[in-house]
């Protein structure tokens, strides 16, 4: 059995993988919650490995996966200031289980590490050097997924795919441009508020808005909540609205508007990244809910025909890796089912087998 933890403030998502069975639970990290997890894990002998997700590692982590030890935990502790709500949870859960089950392999996954290789012109904000010196830069996010997507494209057709735009659909949709395995650009910036609108985040807005709100008497804390928790799909439509609600059939007028905006913004970013890459070999859409996303993906592709992509007529998404374009299409469109949990579980399993991080 392996267990996985992902921060989901104020909870921690606790995921148990046994053979091919997965159970998922949300737990508060108080003493009761911790006891509950330990009880659930059962006798020590059954537990083979642990994976913990660190959402934001800043400049402290350049490796996507590391074996947890004191030094790594210290770095996690140092990273708290970058995303306090999330990283505190990761530190707490990682420390508790490191101390409790010190004999088994424990892996820390850092979701920003992949983007620590962004070129300077992509990671830099055009603000004075004194500020950039203090760690103000684009960190990106969801690196585990984009890195994994790149590897899958190489398994699929490594000879012909060198430049991809990886589009991840979900509650925090985001896009990365990747060339020969290295990230070139990504939509998530200093925080995951930048880029595409999300479940609760506003996405790209004019920064003057922050100034306008503050000078009208809205406090900084209120603005923080407004942009990161009260905007996006839910804030705009005035109801709890997840990605699946946005793309479903027959949405309300407000949700339909959100869908139009999201689709439009995705098309803009695809264009922007194709431009940076100087052309593209494959557009790769990935989602945990791939089948449900089919229509949305096709709507996006319909507007990108000019790029030279030729779709297979009435091609449906049937398998976890599905090509929507015909043989001979200048640009491939690939769809991949993906879940961060599975990626983490696979990596932990490999680590158990080999005894080292691969």
């Amino acid at each position: 059995m392996i267990i996985l933890f992902r921060p989901l403030p104020p909870f921690v998502e606790f995921c148990k993988v046994e053979n091919d069975k997965i159970s998922i639970d949300k737990v508060l990290l108080d003493q009761d919650g911790i006891n509950k997890i330990i009880e659930d894990v059962g006798a020590e002998g059954q537990l083979e490995g642990i994976g913990c997700l660190l959402k934001h590692g800043g400049e402290l982590f350049a490796e996507t996966a590391s074996l947890i030890n004191e030094e790594i935990l210290n770095k996690v502790s140092e990273s708290i200031r970058l995303a306090p709500e999330y990283n505190e949870l990761t530190l707490k859960v990682a420390r508790v289980f490191f101390e409790k089950f010190s004999g088994i392999p424990q892996v820390l996954f850092c979701d920003t590490a992949y983007f620590s290789n962004l070129p300077d012109e992509a990671s830099t904000y055009a603000v004075p050097y004194v500020l950039r010196e203090q760690g103000i830069r684009r960190y990106g996010g969801y690196g585990l997924i984009h890195n994994w997507i790149w590897k899958r494209t190489q398994q699929y057709d490594g000879r012909n795919i060198n430049k991809i735009v990886s589009i991840r659909l979900g509650d925090t949709p985001n896009i990365a441009a990747i060339k020969e395995g290295m990230p070139v650009e990504t939509t998530i910036g200093f925080t995951s508020v930048e880029g595409l609108p999300s479940f609760q985040g506003c996405g790209d807005i004019d920064p003057t808005i922050v100034f306008q709100l503050n000078s009208s008497g809205v406090s900084l804390q209120e603005i923080h909540n407004l942009l990161s928790n009260d905007s996006g799909f839910s804030g705009f439509s005035g109801q709890t609205c997840h990605y699946l609600d946005v793309i479903k059939n027959k949405p309300t007028t407000d949700i339909f508007k959100v869908k139009e905006i999201l689709r439009y913004d995705i098309i803009k970013y695809i264009g922007a990244y194709v431009s940076l890459l100087g052309g593209v070999d494959a557009l790769v859409f990935s989602a945990s809910y791939l089948k449900e996303s089919e229509r949305f993906i096709k709507e996006i592709c319909n507007r990108l025909n000019f790029l030279g992509l030729i779709r297979e007529k009435s091609q449906d998404i049937k398998s976890p890796v599905q090509e929507l374009t015909k043989k001979g299409s200048k640009i491939k469109v690939l769809c991949m089912e993906q879940s961060q949990r599975d990626i983490m579980a696979q990596a932990v399993k490999k680590t158990i087998k080999k005894g080292v991080i691969i």
Partner: protein, 401 residues
């Protein structure tokens, strides 16, 4: 009919008197420019006037735009030129104005409500309007707006994904700027190519020495543009940061204790090329010094190019292709290096620049700089904002009669 046009820049005032016989027969009778208006610096402000092939320049203190306008008006009077209409550029018309209008009491009142939308530009334009009405109390005046050309951007293009009550309360949305310039250069491009503007997909880059933006144009109207609610977002500009994570603005206030005004100064006046290169806000200086291989200068240039390439790419995507790529304003027309770098590796979109043509562009004429038989026409077009304002005025005056 003689039409006097005022065009306020952030630290300059240009004026022109056009003699307009018809839409196609418009000549400049008199023109001038006040330089370094209200600038505190080592170099002095000065006024220049062009009349009958003669230029006269004189140095004097020009403490604000109103003073500059009064100097221009005095000069026009002294030459005994009659004025039938006075037209003004107004940067931000907000939701109140989506087309040019003749100034009335009611319009003046509405213009006043637009002042906070462009706190640097709008009050200055209003002061010039007031100065002109003192000199020509009985002459009709009109205003043309930089935001009007963008008023047909679809809602999914202008909407920020904030709670709708906040959007309504504050009027937050993308407005866009440089509309008068885009209006002129797209019309000029269609005219030169002998094509109907309604059938062209155009991406236009207005690259000024101060502000800069990009617009996507379809059916003769802007469908998206890189500036937003204010002229801050979008491209990396001389001293404006362009696109940043909005949370960064908050973070700087919390972490470094910047007040809102300090923060706006920092992002508007100390960022952009100046903030990154650390040496200059002028892309021409940076290009000039680049051989020195100071890494921060290289970085600022790379960022300028990258950002521009991103916007061009995203606008090609929403237009579903591109027929014409336009470069305009000072940097757009004068800097062949920028155009060369931006057009590199753009064959995927059919953009192929002729390096030779690109290096022999004329400053005062529309030039085509793509290779022969390329899919996309690439053009440099010197912008003529004052002429557009004049034409706008003629449209509404005609409409009145």
């Amino acid at each position: 009919m003689n039409i006097l046009i005022f065009n306020c820049g952030s630290s300059s005032l240009t004026y022109k008197v056009f003699e307009a016989k018809s839409h196609s027969d418009i000549t400049v009778l008199l023109s001038g420019k006040a330089h370094r208006v209200g600038v505190k610096g080592t170099e002095e402000s000065f006024m220049e006037n062009h009349f009958n092939g003669k230029i006269d320049k004189y140095v004097l203190l020009i403490k604000n735009h109103q003073k500059a306008a009064s100097l221009a008006l005095k000069y026009i009077k002294s030459r005994d030129i009659s004025i039938d209409y006075v037209g003004h550029r107004f940067v931000h018309g907000g939701n109140e104005f989506n087309q040019s209008v003749v100034i009335t009491e009611d319009v003046l009142r509405k213009l006043t409500t637009c002042l906070p939308l462009a706190p640097i530009h709008n009050p200055v334009s209003l002061s010039v309007i007031q100065e002109a009405s003192k000199t020509f109390p009985d002459t009709p005046q009109f205003v043309a707006f930089d935001t009007a050309f963008h008023s047909k951007i679809p809602d999914y293009g202008y909407t920020y994904v904030l709670p709708q009550r906040i959007i309504e309360e504050f009027g937050f949305r993308k407005y866009g700027f440089h509309g008068l310039s885009y209006s002129y250069v797209t019309g000029e491009a269609a005219h030169c190519l002998g094509q109907n503007i309604k059938e062209l997909k155009i991406v236009a880059c207005h690259l000024g020495t101060g502000g800069a933006s990009v617009a996507a144009i379809k059916n003769g109207y802007s469908v998206d543009t890189s500036m937003g609610y204010s002229p801050l977002p979008g491209l990396v500009m001389s001293t404006r940061c362009g696109d940043i994570d909005p949370m960064l603005a908050l973070y700087m206030m919390v972490r470094f204790g910047h007040g809102p005004v300090d923060l706006m100064d920092l992002l508007n006046k100390e960022s952009g090329l100046l903030g990154v290169s650390g040496i200059s806000s002028d892309i021409r200086d940076i290009l000039h010094n680049i051989s020195g291989k100071k890494s921060q200068e290289q970085l600022s240039l790379k960022m300028y190019i990258q950002r521009l390439k991103k916007y061009i790419g995203s606008y090609i995507a929403i237009l579903g292709g591109i027929d014409v790529l336009i470069f305009t304003d000072d940097v757009g027309v004068h800097s062949w290096q920028i155009r060369e770098k931006v057009c590199e590796n753009m064959e995927w979109a059919g953009i192929e620049l002729s390096k030779e043509r690109n290096q022999t562009v004329l400053d005062d004429k529309t030039c085509e700089i793509n290779v022969e038989n390329a899919a996309v026409n690439i053009m440099t077009i010197p912008t003529k904002e004052e002429l557009v304002i004049c034409l706008e005025g003629m449209k509404i005056i005609k409409g009145k009669k």
